[in-house]
Subunit: 243 residues, 6 copies
């Protein structure tokens, strides 16, 4: 059950990843009262802003401002309020001990039941793969009592779920979880529309939502599912009943 | 939630498979009021009764009687009442159109939300692999309106879960589901004790339950889990929240 | 280059598989003058005619007539003229020596450069998996001089391509070939519309074509690709240059 | 250590498989005094006698006689004396309960420490895959006390090793065992020369032996290895030291 | 055969890994006269000392002292005398050129026939994965004549074996080698008891030893095996006979 | 079709990799008029010059001079003129932001249709794996408009092909492309002969070429193929017809 005791941390490599790949999940958890925290590691200024750089005299600062405004609009559509942009350089995104401490501290602050981030493989996107390992390692470290960070205390192991990569089959993606997003789909659509320069992706992830909805119906026999998002699991499901 | 609207069908290749591999799941679902139906396809007279055949003058009929009494005792421990033994020959177990109809009809009668049976690979046990495909195919056929069987009506697609095979890693088994069986573990233990001739397996699956309990704690951070059973999934999880 | 020396054999398990999964490929090869032969193994009366069986008093004969008319309409849209329906029972489709001879003979008659059929794995559809092995084995046997069938002569090894299954990732499908079908997409769409009772599949495979078109553009940098179909390969590509 | 207490059973699908894929292993075990039993399931008259069928007026009987003489010559080169040809039809090779009993009885007679046969996957050769499963299942059944066959007694589980298939990578073959055959390589070469019509295979498996010799040297640092054969394992190595 | 010409190098990421995962192997090789060298890369002060950090006023220095005394006791139980602790920081463990030189030099000094260390994948433990690659790369470099390190000479390629990770199936672990440790199991047990704070792991690896003993018996038919440890192989087995 | 509009970039980790693994491909593309650019990242002085270091008083400078002369001779045999040696240290080869810029700039200068380099896995050679990722990441970055490098402009996504590693099966290599090199095989042979100190590799890759030629014939039925080279693909084939 999703409620105000549910803590969710979403870690997105670039400005729009969280919308295409997890916008429905975010909107749903916000709607049902969960505490959703969104960390966006970079503006995607180098790797995911092709159109903006086609403008004469474009500057890095201006690209970031532009992406900032899109992020603001999209997060408003999804209803998520705790949003941080860490402004790492992308394409290549690199990590070090300092950044590891930053994320471990964040995890210990949020105390997430659920972490949603990039899965381990993403063909065509080296940043997504690096972020996946970064978040996973930080999640493990955050549970260890010997990793001493002032003002923080260990948390219990969060469940971790991986976004669907753009080309799933050549990224070894298995849809372990198909999440029904029918009731918030209009919000996701609105959030996607905030990234107007990427009309081809708005279409693409619109179609995806319909396909995953079809899979949801076929796997469950439940025809009330309309649109869905798919995620991989990092660990087995553990619980008291078959779900 | 497990309750009296929950229908479960367990299909076991031989006399004791359902105890070693799913006894905890069965006891738990029975305890919480689900309708659990158990189909045992064979007595395991040829493949899983080595000790009995060491007795001079042993006969097939007698072996079956012996296994029948063990099954009766074990199912009593688990609390499951709807039990059928179909008395197929084992080692090799073979299937045909008649048997397919028999199982499709059973599925349509039980209307299971959940089917529990052998997973697709089981090193050292060709019967388990054959049963896995048999059950899967029957589950698919049972949903199809064009598969006309008098007195039956189509059912919606059941969720299917696979037993853990004896040697998991060389059988390509992944524990997709780790089911907490702490509250019914004494019942499972009692059921296992009904198969006294196989003391090495009683020990083995006792240790397994503890190891899976350790995994349950490590993956969830929940230390109330004591013993557990592991299962594979045949399809993705579909639902309204991350579990 | 596709021309009148190109022989293509398509083997479809059920009435509509060749449309959803390979309609674009068929239309394209027909359009460019290839000799396309289509073998439909069954009417899909049991496994893929759910809607028809909802009609009171429905009969098997009538279902087949209905599917026949849909096939006629769809093949007309695609322009394929050499069409055979072998009327095997589906759900379960079973094979034997006689049927193997029938297909080996057909392959030796058509002398295909290319065979298009179901790939080896298809979650939720046991028939598709059985057909995949049937066609593969027949293709191998057809090249062997010792497989003596009156009135036939051995052929050289055809290239074999596998249809995309309905749920690709859980069917271990890799898109080895992404085939541009932009120029014949209207024909495929028209062919799909011939199966009106399955509106959800018309939508589904419409979306799929757009997604695969996106992949085609991303993998190649060629923005002229609009819609595409994906296929697996049964063997490596062999040739004189990188393609 | 190989000696007169070592029992080996080799099961070959067709007339020459045991030479190309395991001739070195056979010669070596014979040379060191092991009891090597060779079962050849078919003459390969349909699937592996292309050249013979190019002769006008060729008959099945004559093809078998020809293959028989080649087998006689090759086994003489390798020094193996216990040779049986079971004359199953090949391409497709099919199995049933009778054949299963025949092989279980043979295994119980030979009491093999080691069984060498085809591995589970062999692209382009459906017979090899079917034989692999047939032999594996028989090996399992032969250990089971409930599988009653007059005049036989159960045996302990043999180690099973799989031949290298013709195209290893597309057959998912891993070389778990690289067996040094340097001291008997001349014998293997002589045995291969008995199949003169297949000069391309004589060359092919000659090159393979050299490549596997290179791998043997590289993996071990032992430069005395010259030629080698590769095999897969069906189960883990079990023993008292790292080998 | 294990004797005084057998050189073994064990590389353990943290203080106790070598006991849980390879204590039996170590005791066995020591017992039979091999030269066993143990390198422990870290005290596991940050990642594997949770209980110690629960003590008020705990310091890093004190944690290390505590782990040192446990290591001393455990190695004494196993009989291994050549023990070095390199005191790298753990959680995250990082490597660089200097550390690579340190390990290459060590390998060239020990001249190991066998290296035992962590396997390539270990869910929940990023350090183990990093150590696996570190050791593998060092093993390769140590054989290369162009890697010039004063006072060292190249060695031949060692066989490398991987420890069983804590959750084997989700770490893609295959038990390539199942090593009988029955004769030294009491020593392993005693060594495990030296890590009293981790009672749950003492139980866990006790159960594991029994399960692997069961697998050893089942795979070999040899009932003298009682307890065992499982390892993966980094390369194929190379040798003169099937083992 | 290969012609003067075809741009090819080959990136080789060490001095001779491009010859053993892609010499045929290079010679063929040069012969048919393509613009072939060869970047050799290191002289292989540390990892692939074992024999040279056996000479008393050997120096790094001298080893490099020696390798330079071999490279000059071999590239002459293959006909490739655009050759750069970047003189990175090998064994371990390490990468950083500067080197990434260097390769992105090179890709943007060459505008390759085809990039040929090491595949992602190569057992026994950590450098090859590191180079594979380096080249892949650079290829992705080179297409991104936000990766600003003075004097360069983005290019479209190149097709990327992976060399066959030395031990293919344990390096998870699949031969996606089998390239006929019959017409240039004498050139490849001559280029290989330039590395006289490595006679065992000259033999090895000579045998390989014959084996791959056999696979080319078997997969295609085209007997004109004599020698071939195998490559993996990094992405699916995209195009207008089945090839």
């Amino acid at each position: 059950m999703i409620d105000s005791n549910t803590n969710v941390l979403v870690v997105s490599a670039h400005a729009a990843d969280f919308v295409w790949r997890g916008g429905g999940a975010i909107a749903k958890y916000v709607k049902h009262g969960a505490n959703v925290h969104l960390v966006i590691l970079s503006y995607g200024a180098r790797g995911e802003s092709n159109d903006l750089w086609n403008i004469d005299g474009q500057t890095l600062e201006n690209v970031k401002l532009h992406r900032q405004s899109e992020i603001d609009a999209a997060t408003k559509c999804l209803g998520v309020k705790n949003v941080e942009i860490w402004d790492y350089e992308d394409y290549h995104m690199e990590f070090n001990g300092e950044r590891m401490k930053q994320l471990v501290s964040k995890i210990r602050e949020v105390k997430p039941d659920i972490i949603i981030t990039h899965g381990p493989r993403d063909a065509f996107n080296p940043d997504h793969e690096a972020v996946s390992k970064f978040v996973f390692d930080a999640a493990v470290l955050s549970t260890s009592n010997g990793v001493r960070l002032e003002g923080t205390a260990t948390v219990k192991q969060a469940k971790i779920f991986g976004f669907e990569p753009h080309q799933s089959e050549i990224s070894e993606f298995k849809p372990d979880v198909i999440l029904d997003i029918s009731e918030v789909y209009e919000q996701k659509k609105a959030a996607m529309e905030c990234f107007k320069a990427q009309q081809h992706l708005i279409n693409y992830y619109g179609y995806k939502a319909e396909l995953r909805g079809n899979h949801a119906r076929r796997c469950s026999g439940n025809n009330s599912y309309k649109q869905a998002e798919a995620f991989s699991r990092f660990f087995p499901y553990v619980g008291g009943e078959f779900v």
